[in-house]
Amino acid sequence: MNPTPPSDCGSPGHLASWSRRRVLRGSALAGLAWLTPVARQLARAAEKSGARPKSLIVLWMEGGISQIESFDPHPGSAIAHGAKAIATAAKGIQFGEGLPRVAELARDFAVIRSVTSKEGDHSRATYNVKTGFRPFPNLVHPSIGSIVCHELDGPGEPSLDLPAHLSILPGGFPARGGYLGARYDAFQTEDPAGPIPDVRAIAKGERQQGRLDSLTVLERSFAAGRLADLDSERTLHRTSIERALRLMSSAQLAAFDVGEAPKAEREAYGDTPFGRGCLAALRLVEAGARCVEVTLPGWDTHIDNATGQAKQLATLDPALAALIRGLKERGLYDDTLLLVATEFGRTPKLNLTEGRDHWPHGFSVLLGGGGLRGGLAVGETDPSGEKRTPAREVRVEDIHATILRQLGINTSEELTTPIGRPIRISEGRVIQELV
């Protein structure tokens, strides 16, 4: 037997984060014949409750948001190509004219305008920004949400049935656990307007009960003669079924149901899948989720950049502004880090089809909440669009180091990877201006 339960995200180990009463009651409800000794131990462990967890929300601008139309305008310069800028609440900082609501809140976050990477391909660059490492043969690094889940000892909210790591509108490259294991992968859900996938039993009532009873018969014969502690030491099969059943019957599923929110609140986010995703992210963090990622696809404007970016910004602006306001109103903003990121920026110069291409040599990222300093802009890109090294260059991994440090994670800790090579959690340097 293994007396100490493992702790991680969305895995059976997180039985530890349910209150004992709930585990026992839930199992009684489900009528499970197999509440294992391990589950009982975990249930006891769950009685220790922690403080309010720190959380991370990642808004992912899939395709590459243009820095010039958003957080790093160069109004009047040649590279603006007509893109206009507006003043923000932060002194001396301007944003693109498509972000009026976000501009009002500019004192609540920082923009980093000088992020650079060496990756110009969507899949490689997404990997780079989501993990803080460049793609590497035979090793998959974990996304930042997975690292946070792995490092912080389970969500402190004691009765979390929900997965701790979620990806809403997962897009092409949802957050992955990488070498930490599939159990750290983000739980993927689509537009919160629709039902959450896979949490409604196919058969209802007695039929479902009959199915679970049959499973008990089958598992009993499978276990005979096979490894002792088969489930706890190897497969975690029954434990994950138990956990899945708990999730299916959890009242916390309501956190996904943005339809429950007041109409005025819903409207503030905009009537878009991304807007609803941001509202769901807020509700999930409030319910105790550790990391929620929401993707807004469609930024890859190789043709007619101005129109494409404007359309996207019209979706981002209300959702992002409402999310920040919502986090603040609920008293969650100091405990929740907010990252608005993208795989790369877009070229300062227009191409022949009036589009902007991929540009990893100075792009913008927004970072706020979690006690970080706000109201400032870090770094400066070249207004002529020639230089490939911005002033006060910030590397992708520095963003990771800053987030991890702010969440109380020691970034110099080394994790042993499946390839036997110890790897630091982050190789970046904390962005001192923000802490």
Binding site: G181, D198, R211, L215, V217, H237, I241
Partner: protein, 545 residues
Amino acid sequence: MPVLLRALVRLSALALVVAAAAGLLWRHFDGPKLAPLPPPKPDAALDAAVAKVDATFRDSWREAGLDPTPEADPLTLARRLSLALTGAAPSLEEIRRLEALPPGTDPASAWLEHLLSDRRSADYLAERFARAFVGVETGPFLVYRRRRLVHWLADQIEANRPYDALVRDLVAAEGLWTTRPETNFVTVSVEQGGGNNGPDETQLAARTSRAFLGIRLDCVQCHDDLFGDRWKQADFHQVAAFFAQAEMTLTGVRENRGKDYETRYLGQSATAVVPPAAPYASELLPEQGHRRERLARWITHPENAPFARATVNRAWAILFGKPLVDPIDDLPLEGPFPPGLEILAQEFAASGHDFRHLVRMIAKSEPFRRSSRSADPGKPVTPEQEAAWAAFPLTPLRPEQVAGSVIQASSLPTLDGGTHILHKLRRFGETREFVKRSGDPGEEEFAGEAGTIPQRLLLMNGKLVRERIEPNPVMNASTRLARCSPSDKAAVRAAFLATLTREPEEAELAHFTGTLANTRKEARDRALADLCWALVNTTEFSWNR
């Protein structure tokens, strides 16, 4: 594209509804009426090689004082082989053909030959190889910038082209990635958007040493070996230098003999030109040919033992779900080696790197034929037995093996090369979606991860299971079994065979015939769906046993 796919899938459903009249009367292969599988040809050389392999394992078990588990039954062996070579459990139709074999035939050998002659195996093995050769970076499982390479690999495997020749093509080929699909091995490393627009020699050196030699030379990319003193930083960069002359041109990948490879070694202040050199056994490196040709000849030289060992280890992992030496790409250069590895490697090299011969040797060996359970439930299998291959190890199936098995179990006839294209498209779409939701382990395919909650939710409540198992007389096995079985017992037995590739045990038979007793029409359809749901949600269904 997805719209088109969806349209085609709908069309396929329609086409199958048209065939409903026949479908409703579909027999479910409840007796041995089908043609048996062709019996295997005797192969004395194979038997002699297997005897040598078996002897080393038996000796090692005796020395360790471990009792091997009993021999697994033919159906269990068939399930293992089908999962390894086709990515799905056997169909009920195939099982009936196995049962029809004349007495005295070795069913496992007949099964193996049946699978090796089936294009499904070539396609599936090609995908498994591709993971090691080019990874999944260019997209998730079965998606398409790798399609040409995977298809080319499948053609080579189907023709049983010697494995060394296949590897030489990958390493050394020149030309366009469209007309010479093997050049994708090199082009996958091309950096886009960065400063360098050619293939990345360091990525290629890492891939090559890991995938073909089972050596992690890339661990010494930045410094000499910290754990032993076998490998120096120069070893890695001298292998990388073999790839330095590969360039992207208008006519595809070409060698530019004027190009040099430079690096700055740890502790040096300036970069230096690095000449290509073999990291060991340099006497096997030919002088002739361009750099990649020379490297390819050296890797695949019959006396380059690490090449054969690495291939044995990969074939073993594909068949067992777990490599002989773990991790799969970190074999010691000079040993010690586990039992079996050296003999298999020597036999593989001596056969002219015949991959099928290698698969046959492993599949016929004592370890592969062990049961994953003990004969005595009072003395269950121990981790020590598993570690020494005296018991077949329990390993998690890959998500596409789980999806493939759900789909195959829901269709009593075999889904193979002869299956209608619309059926195949539906299966392709379903598998892709399932793998995406389940989480693709990528190249870490032998990590042996325990199941996760989203995976359980997917199998309990997901679309694939709902569509493939809930009552549907035209499409689904569960309903056909409910309507066409001569008795409750026959229905339960057929469901077990089609889903778990085994007969029900007595307690199971009693339980499930109880749930079917006195049911009729829709109630019976539902009871059979309930049975099939329970079967696909077992540990047994998601784990290789």
